[in-house]
Symmetry: C2
Subunit: 147 residues, 2 copies
DNA sequence: TAAATTAGTTGTAAATATCAACCAATTAAT
DNA sequence: ATTAATTGGTTGATATTTACAACTAATTTA
């Protein structure tokens, strides 16, 4: 009956599974810098990926979270010296979010582990199926944004 | 560079987006019974879907969470009278988890909304692409379980 | 019968989230 | 130009979820 639908429940579980694997691998490296929560790395990654410099408000919108939630994530990233708040000279209400060198390094190392896992997780799946998967995902994302 | 990989970060964001939409739609219905968290409905759904009667330990394994986390989710579901704990007569350590009529009703109504959203979210995607998507997902899940 | 295992519970602590109230800086309106 | 409104960020309060460890009670195994 629900066969034609993507199952959001199964999605959630898969995500938990993947983050469990990431956590395990990170633990094995003994690199304390990498011991960072999914939410924190997600935000760091998002800040690092944007084409333009961003302020806190931008990230709240981009991540689809309340500005206070973002603020606290930023606090935790700043405490770990992975990013820095830089006040806009022209509009002193705004904090630009800058990734530190250390932040770059940590992100890179983290992603290396993630890609390693992704390689294993995608084993046996053809490139064209991966492409289709990504195409569907992009479309779903597009459709979802309008709702 | 990271083009051949599925992006776990984007995945997370999409999931948040979908749950945001669900929450919004639920809010519009004004049905208080449906105001239930994603984790709670996820567990209710999982309990309802199993072929055999399950105990708490089973759900912890199935959901990939600590047994105490499951226990507290069960507490919250029981408080809302969506499920009931029933002690096994032969082994009094075990609690079978039974979905109440009310629980069935709430789950059904919730899923109706989810399916409605899924219809909109899958618009413009061919059935064969959806099928491929699900195939990939199943394979990913399978691969992930071994790690 | 004693020891080990199993299922569930409780305490504690951390992380995340939202909402509302608030301040300070900036912009718009009268 | 002064007041009013808006904007970006912060704080406080509260709720949910999670894991880990220590524990109890019931059942099995030795």
């Amino acid at each position: 009956m629900e066969d034609k639908y993507l199952s959001i429940m199964q999605f959630s579980k898969l995500m938990r599974e993947v983050f469990r694997i990431i956590k395990k691998r990170i633990g094995e490296t003994n690199e304390d810098d990498l011991k960072i929560t999914p939410e924190q790395i997600g935000l760091l990654h998002a800040i690092s990926m944007t084409d333009e410099d961003v302020i806190q408000k931008d990230m709240a919108e981009l991540m689809g979270k309340d500005k206070s939630a973002i603020l606290r994530l930023i606090d935790s990233l700043e405490e770990k010296e992975l990013i820095r708040r830089v006040v806009d000279k022209n509009d002193r209400r705004k904090n630009y979010l800058m990734v530190t060198k250390h932040g770059d390094r940590v992100l890179k190392n983290y992603l290396a582990i993630v890609y390693e896992i992704m390689d294993e997780i995608q084993e046996g799946i053809s490139e064209s199926d991966i492409a289709t998967f990504k195409k569907v995902l992009a479309r779903v994302k597009h459709n979802a944004e309008k709702l």
